[in-house]
Symmetry: D2
Subunit: 344 residues, 4 copies
């Protein structure tokens, strides 16, 4: 941490800052420039990030030269982490992975049909919600354990893995019994107790970016999980809240290279929530492949008009299969050009 003080800072003011650093137990250097006095604090200054040095007299700038996350960082681990989902590998140079399924699990038949379609398109993971976070208390909240039973059965039938959301600590043991990947929803990105709890399970966790989450907060949210010893994290970009209303969210694809630069964990994209309109999903799925993402999660439904939730953004069978054919071609092409990219 670097503290920049104004040139005209008085000795007593400089001493006040020094005393505070000392009382926190940190060594430091004071450097006098022509226009500023600079105090450089040495060591793991994450621990004194909250000290309000800005509040001391004549302090003009405080520069945090260290990230507040550690184990999540590329600095901690330079090579890509591969998340292993019961044998299915995600990240690094592994093939592009698709997770597909309905927003909500509605019945055994519906999820079985979704699994069939998902499989046919080449998806490796079946998605579907049994516990749904809904803006209104009067909206459908999910089938609960019944839904979990249905999705597990459907996935097993078609040889798929399962991803489903866990909304609270109380239901975690139940959800963990049925799923391969625990999904943390956007509204829970900073539900720190829940992050710690899924961290303790050691299971693969798909961590969605918060509705208006910064990338820095997102990396710190991952740190809550990894700090519990769980290195099986998959970031999921799902769009952020902006002023634009032409799409449900603003799909921030630049998060892909940013996360890949700052962290060793894989990132996948969710074009369905990213745009919220079925006819924009395919182009954004392709853009996701080209951005270098490790995979995607996408909403499908045998009859989107009859979906109990997210019908507007769900793809029907034909559209999903067409998109997947395109995705296959594109991800093959991406493999051939990746080496060039790495060379840059």
């Amino acid at each position: 941490m670097i503290i920049i003080m104004e040139e005209q800072a008085e000795s007593s003011e400089i001493k006040a800052v020094q005393d505070r650093i000392k009382s926190e137990g940190f060594p430091y250097h004071v450097i006098r420039g022509d226009e500023q006095i600079i105090i450089s604090i040495i060591g793991d200054t994450r621990l004194i990030k909250d000290v309000p040095f800005e509040r001391y007299e004549s302090v003009s700038h405080v520069v945090h030269t260290q990230n507040s996350y550690k184990l999540t960082s590329r600095d901690f681990k330079a090579d890509d982490s591969i998340v292993n989902v019961s044998g299915l590998k995600i990240g690094g140079n592994e093939p592009f992975i698709t997770m597909a399924g309905p927003c909500s699990i509605e019945s055994q038949e519906q999820i079985m049909e979704c699994a069939r379609i998902a499989k046919e398109g080449g998806a490796k993971v079946l998605r579907g919600g049994a516990f749904k976070p809904r803006t209104s208390p009067y909206a459908f909240q999910g089938l609960g354990e019944e839904g979990l039973i249905y999705i597990r059965k459907a996935a097993d039938h078609y040889g798929l893995k399962v991803i489903t959301e866990v909304m609270d600590e109380a239901n975690l043991p139940l959800v963990a019994r049925y799923t391969d990947i625990l999904q943390i929803g956007a509204r829970n990105m900073q539900n720190f107790k829940l992050l710690q709890a899924v961290g303790k399970t050691g299971m693969p966790v798909a961590l969605k970016r918060g509705i208006a989450g910064t990338i820095d907060e997102w990396l710190n949210a991952a740190e809550y999980i990894v700090a519990e010893g769980n290195f099986n994290i998959i970031f999921v970009e799902r769009g952020i809240r902006t002023y634009e209303t032409a799409t449900r969210n603003t799909f921030d694809l630049s998060a892909v290279p940013v996360i890949q630069k700052l962290s060793h964990f894989p990132i996948i994209v969710d074009p369905s929530h990213g745009v919220g309109e079925w006819d924009y999903v395919a182009p954004m799925a392709l853009a996701g492949v080209a951005s270098g993402a490790s995979g995607m999660i996408v909403e499908i439904h045998p009859e989107p008009q009859k979906a109990w939730s997210d019908g507007q953004q769900s793809l029907n069978e034909k559209r999903y299969l067409n998109m997947m054919a395109q995705v296959d071609v594109l991800s093959d092409t991406m493999k051939t050009i990746k080496p060039i990219q790495n060379d840059i």
Copy 2:
């Protein structure tokens, strides 16, 4: 709900929409204009809000004419709800209430000193966090139950009520034992399980607006609480996330008249988090009084430079007392001009 179809909609397309409405069990009218065909659905259409009518062929617009919240709405209850905190009344024409205290409870001495200052300035409620939601897992997370014991003791000593945050369902019984008001933090505005749990306690709940929460989502979050039978809700405007970095958040004071128009529950303001810089807190506190808010919650610290968290936005004793003297004068003035305002 009103569904507007394009003029050239075919009979089969109109029938598809009608069939869907019927299958949902709702009566409707079809009205043919010169340029549109309009289908008006009758009844409590909150229950079919998720049906993706936009997805049916030739549907051009779907208009939701009902809010998704009900008991929270002014339509449900026209007169102001007064929240009773063990005898202290908040809302309606009750006096402007101040809640003051530190961000974190740090020690018995610190919270006792904060209580003394809070009381001297005229605050009626003591704030202070024992469980702190922190972006980084390495930041101070609060003293836990120890902190709760300290704040209760300090509040009782000075005849104040207590407000403190509850972060998860597991800790709710513990927190409820010590506090008068349960605070739901910004990151938990859509932690629906927690909202239901505090709803069940029947205790006063201070519901902070989410970090990027819309007013509509906020009203729906309240609905989760009130749907459990708990009508003791206080909205807390604490600033929203925008692109502007000159302040920690953008303090949206217009939420005060908006909430007062749409809901019967009181709203108070949090200028400390609203701006995040101590020297902007007093002007925004005064603006909050003038906006017609029912009260405010503000961060103070005997020595803000030594605060374990939020030191940058905490007021010291002198500044807090000066501000409170101004707030008193202004809220007296507001009482004299309120009748004119109601006449508008």
Copy 3:
């Protein structure tokens, strides 16, 4: 336009709305549902968009069923418009076009070198600013006409077209003398006088999305140009302002399919401004190709460290050439999968 009135609206209130519609010279229908009274106004209601019907007593909703833009809309022209830049075609099924060059024209040598690099990578258009909109009045404002002379010479030498920004009406004749495409910068998206002026030239116009412009405003800005008879418009997505600071802007690639759905004019992308960091430019350029954009505009510099502006986001020769090799491969692939996409 549809006006929805509350069920309990009184005759006099309904009459007030009707009288207003009549006085504006529009025919209408009144339709009585069980819960609402609906007034459907017939004709080109763009002309009465500003009438504050919401303000009339018992009006609950006003639905604008027509866009405020007309000639820009797909409804007006179903097939893709191809913009012809002195023989170079942009849009529709034409090949993906790259425009490359420095942020600022700095000297004859610099722009000549940029042109060489641009050409080698396969770009067809040379970019470079002679008049620069700068946040601070003390920043470099561009070489003016001198710069225009330099860029024209460099482009002609390498057989490239020129795109450069015009900042004000006064300089338009000068800029038009040297350039093939007039660029309207993000800060000028709603400089309506300038839009009308470039509209009158009939020249190709690259219309950047405003710094926080909505897609609807952008389409209306295009309408200012096309209303003057100029159908040579290219939309340029360059990122929007959000709360996220990890990138300079938030690159909204979903604008590509949205604009393609709503308008017949081509859209290209600007990954350089979209992300603002050179190492994120290539992945976003590829994502742009995959999103279906008709081209891109990208910043390059022989020595980015020495660039007078935007050095942080400019690509050097090697990185640009690598990226272009990837772009070529990807755009070839996209051609093979496009038919499938159209089938959806």
Copy 4:
């Protein structure tokens, strides 16, 4: 400017940065800490703000310790600037000033009636647009010079000053002939040519904050005006664009204390555009008074339902007069509490 390099920076990398600083003609110091190497550049580093030092190898942080604006800053002039509008003083300890009038000048009768109402409520300045920036080219664009003649006549009749918007350089001489204050609209906050042109007139300029303008950009926009020698600037906070749709904009009242801290120029507020709904205007006007603003600008109309533009946010006579009675009481109170505030 402070450049922080990584500890492991090689000599050649440090030298590259030093060479660049030298070539720009600036002296500097190199300081070696234990974990960083710090280079402190001396002098007016505004001039090298664009040098992409971040791009040099092993540079970890670049800290700009100087603002890019100068004459606008409190550092340049510590005491409040008072803007003199033909004898009417705005800013500092001068009385709170109200500017009132319609969005658009519609006729001589309409603006005369507005002037009568404005005057009766105690406004000192008459507002009204003759040239209107409109999202759609088909919307009413203003009466032009005819409108200017009307507003001047109405203002003179009631002894009011005039404020009206100038949209482009070409019309500036015309507008300047009729108005006392030149208004720069939100869409033109970064129309730098126009800023320079109004700067050259020496006339009072009301500079609206951009639709999504940062406070830093706003201060720099003012710098364009003051750099031309014009120190008669009034900042106008009018709300910023956010994701919230309950109000037309998000009214950022914290801009008042922020601007007052950073600049010596006065700031007034525009609650009409800030919220966009007539029934929220009065509470936000009062909040504006309490925030310490030097005045406000507000939209009124004899018959808001018949307004040609902004009818939704315009106050009718009764509501305006009621609000002004409240504003008077509150601004009187503010005078009595201001000394306390200054003491803080």
